[in-house]
């Protein structure tokens, strides 16, 4: 947090001015070093909360399935997925997910580690897999959030490190804010831009702190898990990361590749429901399907828990191998179960997603205003950095522009164009920064383009899917995108108040 107001203290302050100034120096250094990465991760994270809705927007004619799947429908979906996987010689691991409060589709995926062949299908309410899943824009946004489109391990690590930097910024920001309570509700608009942004930065940062801490900690842990488990494996499992992961994630399949019948998933679901009457099917993950060493991880959810589901393990013969305790087990098991839902807001349906969207946007604004304050402070101190002001405007508004350019590139040429279009737009925005007159112009041009192209994406989507939209979620997503695009346009076309004031003063 930055730029806290100072008055002569009546008693010794809780945090000494020297400590606060040292903390502010560290807070600024960290923010400057990681600002762009944190901003991109926060902005894409906010969008990733709505990943399932974005996928429905991209395929608005695919079936929507309400309510949890019955044992028979889930089993049929597994059998269908197995049949499709066999046809491609990719019957190795199969994952079927039913509708929940978080997403309303029947999804079936298969993947063969050896060949890399995989399939992603969407099913109807009877368990038939009717259409291949195709959502390149949602996947582009999600991959950008999870691994920045870098090679998997390196991308995860860099995003994890970004989460650590964000968490560290929250700690140093809190400790450099001695007027935490005195300014608790102050949002003074007008006057100095620097202090106005500081109020916004501090209020959004402090009141959203539980959310900010939760998403940065869980995100950092998810990103760094491969590294941490790698060191854990060296210390306790003779360097075997698979064994280390198995100690955390539960039973893994054995290497016995002898052919075996498909597991009776319906019987397993009924077995769990016999013990937990209110348990509903969420997912089933079968590793080494159709082999003697296969293991079934059945996800069943009972109400009142954050975990997306508890994991119940069975061997291929239906013998129970225990459960993961993700809902009612030990503290570590429950934390494990809550990590992903808490990080993405996938635990309470659309209202929680909307809340996460707003809080994620707040965290993005906190990141953006942090650098704006630093730049304004330099300007106030007579050490203006106009090039960095323009670059930061290019980062801030170039990203939404790059996202919509990626969407249009997908419409024009297909999913493989998303990353090149995104990178090209980002690079061009940054290269254009030095040649624009000032940061305000840069910001306006990028917002104008993002708004226009955002509206274009909505219109193109309408044309492409004209008469074929059966999923109402697609219309809602289009509506929200149009509103955001219009807001960007309005903000870009609004008269510049500061400039008008300067002109009226004869400046």
């Amino acid at each position: 947090m930055q730029d806290v107001a100072r008055k002569p203290p009546r008693k010794a302050p809780f945090l000494s001015p020297q400590f606060v100034r040292a903390m502010l120096a560290g807070h600024s250094a960290l923010g400057i070093a990681f600002a762009a990465l944190i901003y991109i991760v926060c902005l894409t994270g906010t969008l990733t909360v709505f990943m399932h809705e974005l996928k429905r927007w991209e395929q608005p004619d695919a079936p929507v399935v309400e309510g949890s799947l019955s044992a028979d429908v889930a089993t049929k979906a597994v059998e269908e997925a197995y049949r499709k996987a066999l046809a491609l010689n990719a019957a190795h691991d199969i994952f079927v997910m039913g509708p929940t409060s978080t997403q309303q589709r029947l999804l079936a995926n298969f993947h063969d580690h050896g060949t890399g062949i995989e399939g992603h299908w969407i099913g109807d309410g009877t368990g038939n897999l009717v259409v291949e899943q195709h959502a390149p824009w949602a996947e582009f946004i999600t991959d950008l959030h999870i691994r920045l489109h870098l090679p998997h391990t390196w991308g995860l690590f860099l995003v994890g490190l970004t989460g650590v930097a964000l968490l560290s910024s929250l700690v140093s920001g809190l400790l450099s804010h001695p007027r935490l309570f005195k300014d608790a509700f102050a949002l003074r608009w007008g006057g100095s831009r620097r202090l106005q942004e500081a109020d916004l930065h501090n209020r959004l940062g402090v009141w959203g702190l539980p959310f900010h801490v939760v998403v940065s900690t869980t995100g950092a842990l998810l990103g760094l898990s491969t590294l941490i488990v790698g060191v854990l494996a060296l210390a306790a499992y003779e360097g075997d990361s698979e064994r280390a992961f198995a100690s955390i994630l539960g039973p893994m399949p054995t290497k016995d590749e002898t052919a075996a019948p498909l597991p009776d998933v319906a019987a397993m679901i009924r077995d769990v429901q016999a013990k937990h009457g209110d348990a509903e099917f969420v997912s089933v993950f079968i590793q080494h399907i159709g082999k003697a060493g296969q293991v079934v991880n059945l996800g069943m959810k009972t109400p009142g828990h954050l975990a997306m589901s508890n994991a119940y393990y069975f061997d291929g013969n239906g013998k129970s191998l225990g459960d993961g305790g993700l809902e009612t087990g030990s503290i570590g098991q429950q934390i494990l179960g809550a990590l992903q839902p808490l990080h993405f807001g996938w635990f309470g349906g659309l209202p929680v997603k909307i809340a996460y969207g707003l809080l994620g946007l707040a965290l993005t604004i906190v990141t953006q205003t942090g650098i704006t304050i630093w730049l304004a402070r330099r300007r106030d101190a007579g050490r203006a950095a106009p090039h960095w002001e323009k670059v930061w405007a290019a980062v801030t508004w170039g990203q939404p522009l790059a996202f919509v350019v990626a969407a249009l590139a997908i419409f024009a040429g297909g999913g493989s164009y998303a990353v090149p279009a995104y990178l090209a737009t980002t690079v061009v925005s940054l290269l254009a920064a030095p040649v624009t007159p000032d940061a305000a112009v840069m910001s306006r041009v990028l917002r104008l383009l993002a708004g226009l192209l955002g509206l274009s994406a909505v219109i193109v989507h309408g044309f492409v899917w004209s008469g074929r939209i059966s999923d109402p979620a697609a219309l809602w997503v289009s509506g929200v995108m149009a509103v955001i695009a219009l807001a960007l346009l309005a903000s870009a076309l609004r008269p510049n108040r500061a400039r008008l004031e300067a002109l009226s003063r004869g400046g």
């Binding site: 005195k182 509700f185 003074r188 209020r203 842990l221 280390a244 309470g348 004031e501």
Partner: protein
């Protein structure tokens, strides 16, 4: 009247939402009074916020209800602040600008900057992973619990270490402490196995 609206979850959720809003509004009213008393409002405000947490916990269970309540507290506070923001005139700029802490000005150079970055990013990371893995290997808990808790501590310790090393002007002190912590962590994690 639709009877479904009267189900206990909806009632408790509505009561919790109202209590949260009233609590934050009372805290703001107390904040407006500043030094002029208002302890009653402060106590009542926090009691209402706690009451909202309890109502949410009754409505959805402690686990989910607490998560909802924390989110609701943030959003209600944002809403109260947004609806009561103060528009200031330009003439008040000078006073406010004069009354802000600035970050400490420190002499720096590239070598020092790289040293700080290595400390905050690399050594703080090495130390925190060492502590996390030591807990994952040796803590007196079931294997899954100690692995998850050890893992969860890594980003928290790393973030704390990063904040501390960046604010501490003495590089040597930070280096010695982080190296010591690393030695202890990796010693606990690896030595028993190496010596057995």
């Amino acid at each position: 009247m639709n009877v479904e609206i009267l189900d206990p979850v909806t009632l408790l959720a509505g009561a919790g939402g109202l209590a949260m809003t009233a609590g934050v509004a009372m805290l703001r009213k107390r904040w407006l009074q500043r030094g002029a008393g208002g302890s009653g409002l402060l106590i009542a405000g926090w009691l209402a916020v706690v009451g909202a947490f309890v109502a949410f916990a009754y409505a959805w269970g402690a686990e989910v209800g607490t998560a909802y309540a924390l989110g609701a507290l943030s959003l209600v506070a944002y809403a109260v602040i947004a609806s009561t923001f103060e528009r200031r005139e330009a003439k008040r700029r000078a006073l406010r600008e004069a009354s802000a802490y600035d970050p400490e000005e420190r002499p720096t150079n590239w070598r020092r900057g790289i040293g700080k970055a290595l400390l905050a990013i690399v050594l703080a990371g090495v130390a925190s992973i060492g502590i996390g893995v030591a807990i994952a290997v040796e803590a007196p808990l079931p294997p899954q619990d100690r692995a998850v808790i050890g893992g969860l501590l890594v980003p928290i310790l790393w973030g704390g270490g990063m904040a501390w090393t960046l604010c501490d002007p003495r590089l040597v002190r930070a280096t010695i402490i982080l190296l010591s912590v690393s030695a202890i962590g990796y010693g606990i994690a690896f030595l028993p196995k190496a010596l057995s």
